[in-house]
Symmetry: D2
Subunit: 358 residues, 4 copies
């Protein structure tokens, strides 16, 4: 379970009956648009040609918490049945953990009882539940005028140029068209080589009121980081200038306060909208590093854990050559989730319900 | 409060009566060495000439949870009184928030009631409590043979070369002596310019058994990241190759499994010892980016929040020119804390108590 | 969500698509017997003639967390579809809250968006999820040799005589056959009068090892009470002699320590197996008071909340005349759940997995 | 740690350096009256002649979270030093656990490392921390017009008559003067016999707005019960008619809704102000059963745990003959705490801060 006032819990396995999510703490009275929810889930399919061939559409079934088209305030359980599943392959490789995967560690943690088919509970498919949690979070945020948008910052060594907040919000995958073409080529190259490639997603939230978050255990950065690392394949998270800020002087890094339109703002936004763990009213900016998909077609060294001898594995099956386009909406969902949770801590349901009315 | 089976809660303000920590869930029977605890606290003083001139020694007073020299299993409260405090300066600047500081956001979140003297609850001084939590965590880990060590990876643009685990564990601040000298010079330069400089800390844990952690809400990376971001001035966290792994192909990034000394290990450790949120038995490696100390002597633009007009602030007082050497042991403490928490989730007190006996 | 190492979350509504539960923290490797699970659910039907006429059988569908017949260690989602549902009646009474019901308070808390049909999320039907959580908890406890059994202590003013632990464990509903006949008559009388009647359930756990629980926030009594009050219609919880102990002298109430079979035990068990919030190795004994079912056929005074005027409500439909026989297995489930949670806190998964092996 | 938005954590031991509490989540801007806090602590002394002879006054020292006389919103640590302590006696009896005490179970849970002097962390002295948490909770509630008051319902077999809410709020210990005299006599008798006696406290909260609480995991009754059981010596908790309601018919137990002064209320209050776990706007009424103090002067059977042989213990020292008058304000504190926590969940800090302003 993640979150405090808004919470979600994932369940399901890649090749089991279904994947799903339980979302708790959603205030009552939010209109539920199943078409919009599906559209969000569709975004998880990424760019067709670099994605797995799993053909099934994700059909979310709302089991609870919605009545007459509105959230009731009770827990919302949503499931997506698994249909297009062939697990025979995983039986063959169950003793040879795939490098870079959770196969080995899950086997130890669950004493060999884990569902190893398609990664089981560790599968990227579980992020469907995150998208649904994110759908509700975005509906909550929209009542407060808060928007969240992610884009691809880099694929492999191809990086997008610096972009304005407006540009980011005007685009779905990457507003730097030129760089995006090169990113597509890089993904294509990786695929053609039977390989995969990593990348970075940047995500931005606007109109977050100042005062959300807190020190240490309530730190927005800490809660966002925990939510981002919950997405499979994430290996780094940074805010504002992130690791680059470590190279600067204080006089370069500090964001001077200014008055603009009668409001206190900062001239620059090197801190990424968060000071002392608390939102300062500027856009909240984070970058998340994704490792390349570990499942590749090139032969790899591994170990047969039953015979305890070194061996080689050559994967066949359907794998993404790049997870980044699929992960992008999940990053958005996780940022929306954490901000909505903190907003509800700040306002309570009572305050949230009167948001539109003032 | 942070943690689940092992927990800590910070309290206190920089210029208040005391700072302190409540550590809960520490198993009974751990010998408490107050000298060792003080030595850990001393490490937080960093390198004398780049640190604030606050002269007082941190004298931890254990209020509870220790009896006859051993932990009892009950909550351990430890406080450190504040002595060498002069708050007059902060009265003068309370209406002009320091750029890069929590002054402004804390003022909003706490409706102006926050203790603004010396940063109050947001002060780096609160990390003394983290050190004490870390002291107990390290004692717990040591019973399981787990070691944690941090070093300075970079100051500004000066970076240490790649280092072996052995080198890291043989040193206190930075095992790359040559780079370290340049780091000192860089800190000196920043100080002489009335400025500050950021840096990166790398931290490594060894002998962590495989199987600790879990997916999404139990993810070791997520819990570690949340703990690291709880340290003031942190703006980025990465594991293994971190952001660099996003530039690689899967065939470069994946760590092949091998057998060594009859045990399953990985040939490389690009994943930083964590796969699927779970330890794989290899060293756990993280890097944490610190922004430069926001308090600098150069004049800065800010806003007078009472008069709502732009103005300039020129700080006087005692400030670090570089927080990184001071933050280094805190990073260690936070990693030790998270690992000890997860170890206790895995073993329970019952299993922990029998660790030495087998 | 309830619990810490073992956790469950309920979802669903009485007249929605399904009711269900998410059970987290169940260790891997527990054999799942769906027949046994159904048998537990069947117990919730109570005594046929005093129960609602809802004919459908509860068919639990396990969505996740079970693989090849064993728990995997991942979250277990189980749902039961609702079939035999007719909601038309509830449309008629939605403006006239039933006395003694959550209709009125739920309407306020959820700003009128709650699913009022059949009590929605507040329905006794949600206890099916508790039974499933209890099923897994009992499997966990059985590995440690711990048994839990509940029986009907009283119906209305008819009370069972004092019973030995052996008698309690030899019976399903009430080991005092004579009293039980009178209880049945009392339920019959209530039903014939178009009324309902309350009662008390006593629950006993045996073979709980001493040392489980803790002071204040870890208090076994507190956690058990919270779990019992989570069952609808509970208005009182007591341990050992309970309210009667308040009438005694210390010399009467204290349980003297004795040695029996080489083990430290208490001669009496007035404290109900818990001292200082911690199990003492004796049977844990609790009693739970259930109010009479608020839905009765007699006309009752209520208010039309739309017109804001007093009115009368005369319920038709299918209601239990006594909830106690149905609630009995739920009480068992909740006690099993809390004890299993505390056992896992004590042993960790690691210790639990080696339970059978020693 | 107890609570969610408002939280408290106890620490300290009866014969250690201090006892204390960490209170987190208190909104900023609450005026702190140390005299009032001390007066609350004084109430814990009970009735002089039936209380222990510990002469020291409880001097609370606020370490953090209060600035310029107002709460800051940061964690509030308050400690009370232990002065009048003589532990020599406890060394003598450490191998012979006192019947009815936590001595035996704590020894097992903490593997013999617990501070056994005066009950250590299990001592009634720890309730001083609860009083301080309650002090802040009451200040929060008072801003919303909510009042909480407890009185002695019974001592041994002497019971107070039924009392109106007004009578309860007009008195400190027991508004039924006649019964109270008999209670004093009963306590006197117990003391003269070298024995102790139990009793029941009733507590009432008024002006709680409807809509606070929730089903199962948010159930007001469950959270209140958990908080009450956190007080040492509690063996039973009930709401409204409590165990008596189990004897009734639905037609007797249900509280009819009526309109009074333009508001929806119930004619009777058998449910104790809570329906479906949610406040209904009526007074919230709970009763809490306290066992007699286990420390008595009469000789008792126990076991020498080192020699593993049965023996007798005859306590000397200073013990209360009845804990009920001392426990009464603690019951109030715990009810205030839970209600304030739920109020803050409902309103958020943001909503709370604007309470006075409307």
């Amino acid at each position: 379970m993640m979150g405090k006032m808004l919470r979600f819990s994932l369940f399901g396995e890649s090749h089991g009956k279904a994947v799903g999510v339980l979302v708790e703490g959603v205030p009552p009275g939010i209109k539920v648009d199943i078409g919009k929810m599906k559209a969000e889930l569709e975004r998880r399919r990424g760019i067709e040609r670099f994605s797995t061939k799993r053909k099934e559409k994700d059909e979310p079934v709302i089991l609870s918490g919605v009545f007459n088209g509105f959230t009731t305030g009770s827990p919302i359980a949503v499931i997506i049945e698994n249909r297009d599943v062939d697990s025979s392959y995983y039986e063959k490789i169950k003793n040879t953990p795939r490098p870079g995967h959770s196969d080995y560690t899950a086997g130890i943690r669950y004493f060999g009882f884990n569902d190893y088919r398609g990664g089981g509970f560790f599968s990227g498919r579980l992020t469907a539940g995150m998208m649904i949690a994110g759908y509700f979070a975005k509906e909550i945020l929209s009542k407060a005028g808060i928007g969240v948008r992610a884009y691809i910052k880099s694929i492999g060594k191809v990086k997008a140029k610096d972009l304005s907040v407006e540009e980011v919000f005007s685009s779905k995958l990457c507003p730097d068209e030129e760089a995006f073409q090169k990113m597509l080529e890089e993904m294509e190259r990786a695929r053609n080589e039977g390989d995969s490639v990593g990348g970075v997603v940047e995500v931005i939230a606007i109109n977050v009121p100042p005062g959300i978050g807190g020190p240490y255990d309530e730190d927005l950065e800490g809660d966002l980081a925990k939510a981002f690392f919950a997405i499979p394949a994430v290996k780094g998270v940074e805010f504002g200038l992130g690791f680059r800020i470590a190279e600067l002087r204080g006089s370069e890094a500090n964001d001077p306060f200014v008055i603009k339109d009668g409001k206190i703002m900062t001239k620059t936004n090197n801190c990424g909208g968060i000071l002392g763990g608390i939102s300062n009213g500027m856009p909240i900016v984070a970058r998340i590093a994704f490792k390349p998909v570990p499942s590749i077609y090139k032969p790899q060294k591994t170990v047969d854990i039953e015979r305890m001898e070194e061996t080689e594995i050559k994967l066949t099956g359907r794998f993404d050559s790049c997870i980044v386009p699929k992960a992008l909406p999940v990053v958005e969902a996780m940022m929306a989730f954490v901000l909505a949770d903190h907003l509800l801590r700040w306002l309570g349901w009572k305050g949230f319900m009167s948001l539109g009315k003032r």
